[in-house]
Symmetry: C2
Subunit: 287 residues, 2 copies
């Protein structure tokens, strides 16, 4: 396990403060359930990607925090849903009992619903209408049946049956890649990036997201639950990149995807060094 | 049972066409699950309220259709969640098996999530940024822990224990009232209404929504499943307005709320006659 790049810690602190501001761990049961998963220890890779994307486009960190939080709100919602008994039936998440184990299924589902809803509310209230409206559309496309929801449904419906490599890739581009892309594009929008800069960030994020998913599959086979916060081999019934290509093949594929991701950063020159550190971290995360 | 006012049929046709355009009953399993609940026969009271609110503010019907659809998308999402085994565990909805009975729990949950998500995407793409951004904030507030989600959670957590009348009212203002208010305000925004006109529509909708919920409680006790599309006494374990005030008391309360609703329409004069027909329908719906 390679450590998160040093510069990331500072971003994580800003992101965590913004998330705590949006969803205090207090008050109504549903709000505490939202905070339980949202505020649990996490590397915050997606929101960090949003902040770096905003900065590389010339924006500052502070105005990008709401966008980064919106991305993490959606991610937390998807984690709660993934773990439900009717989906992956996972007992552990981020090192603690899954949301529904702690709050019951009904409250967990409502918390996920409220987290997604709050992501859109946060975007609508934080930004001037032109940026808010574009970001809301980007977020909705990333979550919808061509994105997170479609990927999760494809994953569930494919469980226990053989699938083609292309289908597996499509599922994971939906489940993981789409929110990585939205994270980068949202940052680019807040940062005032030009269309070509945002397209480069989007290409970087698409490949980084797929690499991230492959490494996640590897950790599921090889990882230490104390570090991953999840049970090992939770995905045993699934076809994954590891079951397709073996451990070495999957590691190789992740490394190649990170190289492809880095190539998309060329137009930014040295300004993209932190994004390169991020992809190096993702590529090396299981070694 | 009083029939829906004659003018409503024409609005329903426009709304249904817009909903079918947004969510065709075809393609991926999740999309078919979304369409299953969304396109099932319904009075479309909420989206009709959006269209009437837009028109009374001087807007036309066509541009308001997307807003009315967004409201119904959120409503359909909430129906799917309400019926889940971990919530009301309801077998029937809109005269057919509940969504999870037809598609399984995982797909039903993803469909609800995708419907909420599509509501925000629809708003972001249909309107100029200033209107879209305001409407998105209104929608998010209506769904969040002060609205639908909070009301549903309060309802679940209160089940099986005695609650105060004030708490019951707060739960139902969240569960039903908040989306009625959002429906009216969204219409007012699209129609270009001034703040005072939108405030009047909001007051009308708040009282209409609560009346609607009380009548729903009455139908649960007295209704014919062939007409309500739901099992009778599904709410027997709950405290409702009927268990508080009895059948006659609840009917009286609903009538009073509709009168209060109508008083909020005074500034509009005769232009509000269709909204008055709508509240008369709601008030008389169980008689």
């Amino acid at each position: 396990m390679i450590a998160v790049p040093a510069f990331v810690a500072d971003y994580q602190v800003s992101i965590d403060a913004e998330l705590r501001r949006l969803v205090p761990d207090s008050g109504a049961t549903v709000q505490r359930a939202m905070a339980y998963t949202l505020l649990a220890p996490s590397k915050r890779v997606r929101p960090v990607l949003t902040l770096l994307s905003a900065e590389i486009c010339g924006g500052r960190r502070a105005p990008a925090l709401a966008a980064s939080a919106a991305i993490e709100l959606v991610h937390a919602a998807s984690l709660i849903l993934d773990d439900l008994p009717s989906m992956d039936d996972a007992p552990l998440r981020r090192g603690r009992p899954a949301n529904h184990k702690e709050f019951g299924e009904a409250v967990a589902i409502l918390a996920a619903f409220a987290l997604l809803n709050l992501a859109f509310g946060t975007v609508a209230k934080a930004y001037d209408p032109a940026v808010a409206s574009k970001m809301s559309a980007v977020l909705s496309d990333a979550v919808g049946i061509e994105g997170l929801v479609g990927g999760q449904a494809g994953d569930l419906l494919a469980a226990g049956q053989p699938i083609e490599f292309e289908m597996l890739e499509r599922i994971h581009r939906g489940k993981t890649g789409s929110l990585f892309v939205a994270a980068a594009v949202a940052g680019g929008l807040v940062g005032g990036g030009h269309a070509d800069a945002i397209a480069s960030l989007s290409a970087y994020a698409k490949n980084l997201g797929l690499a991230f998913q492959i490494i996640d599959d590897l950790l599921d086979v090889e990882g230490d639950p104390a570090q991953t916060g999840k049970a090992v081999r939770a995905d045993a019934r699934r076809t994954t990149f590891v079951s397709f290509s073996g451990v070495e093949g999957a590691r190789q594929l992740a490394a190649e995807l990170c190289e492809t991701a880095d190539r998309a950063l060329r137009p930014f020159g040295r300004r993209a060094d932190q994004l390169r550190e991020l992809s190096a971290f993702v590529a090396g995360r299981s070694i």
